[in-house]
């Protein structure tokens, strides 16, 4: 599978999904007006990856900001990862949040309570 590599913009995150390494990363800001348009190709790529996942997939989410329309799209990403986890493959989600950013920590905890995949909350100390 060809990896997905997208440069970040002031409103959309950088993305690196590499099926050969099993390491996926979403980083930066996700505040576009139309999040569905941005996340659709990512979720389609994951639909293909789900057919032949690696034994272990690690997902790093390092978001500075995200809007509510992105929150649903990110949940859709996680639901695909949950399906991979259910098919007896290791999946680990690392949710990074900046020191004192309790809102970002809470957002990660929201997902952790919805998605049945091991979540690790990682505080970034400046």
């Amino acid at each position: 599978m060809e990896p997905i590599i997208i440069e970040g913009t002031p409103k959309t995150p950088s993305v690196k999904f590499d099926a050969s390494e099993g390491i996926f990363e979403i980083k930066g800001r996700s505040i576009p007006e139309n999040s569905v348009e941005f996340y659709k190709p990512l979720n389609e790529w994951l639909d293909n990856y789900m057919q032949i996942p690696l034994d272990k997939t690690v997902v790093n989410i390092r978001l500075e900001y995200f809007n509510t329309s992105s929150s649903k799209c990110i949940l859709d990403v996680f639901k695909r990862l949950e399906a991979i986890h259910k098919s007896k493959h290791d999946v680990e989600i690392n949710w990074f949040y900046e020191e004192d950013d309790e809102d970002m920590l809470e957002a990660g905890e929201d997902y952790d309570s919805i998605i049945k995949v091991p979540f690790k909350m990682i505080e970034i100390v400046e």
Binding site: P10, K11, I31, E33, N34, S35, V36, E64, Y65, N67, T68, S69, S71, K72, C73, L75, E98, D100, D101, E102, D103, M104, E106, D110, S113, I114
Partner: protein
Amino acid sequence: MSFDLENLVSDLDIRGAVLYFKGNVDSEIINKALDLVEGKLLATRETPRIRKKVYNVLVESLQNLYHHADLVPRGYHASRPDRYGLVVMEKLGKGYRVTTCNFVSAVHVRELEEKLTRINRSSPDEIKELYKEILNHQEITEKGLGGLGLLDIARKTGHRIDFRFRKYDNNNTAFRLTALVATE
């Protein structure tokens, strides 16, 4: 004197505002407003925690206008009828106040009022659970998720959302929404 959305913010300090905009809230205007406010916030001594909260509330407020402002009434002066609104952000002693105004079709007023009343009557834990419920079970549309933006503003501010309606004509109502990010 004819009605203008500015009539709804006559009690605010518009001239001293961090941000003031009235017009069509398109993607480019949102970018400019966010850039401007981010720059101004960085020049303050606010903690990253407060800066982020203010920025987040502003994002949701502007995108609420972008997605949910109904068309301006016929006869009301606007360069384009869609996505028309007014946004004011002020720095007060107690925090940052973000106010948006827009038109709402009369048929949508009751639903919006009920949504906001429910949010304001809910405890922080209830708001959190409602947020997760909508996030997990509602389908997303091109306008986003029903009411999630308002719930997010309520969660991030921890304050009740102030709102008021003013009838414009039989089919249109002017709507004002105010959120406060406290710095104390």
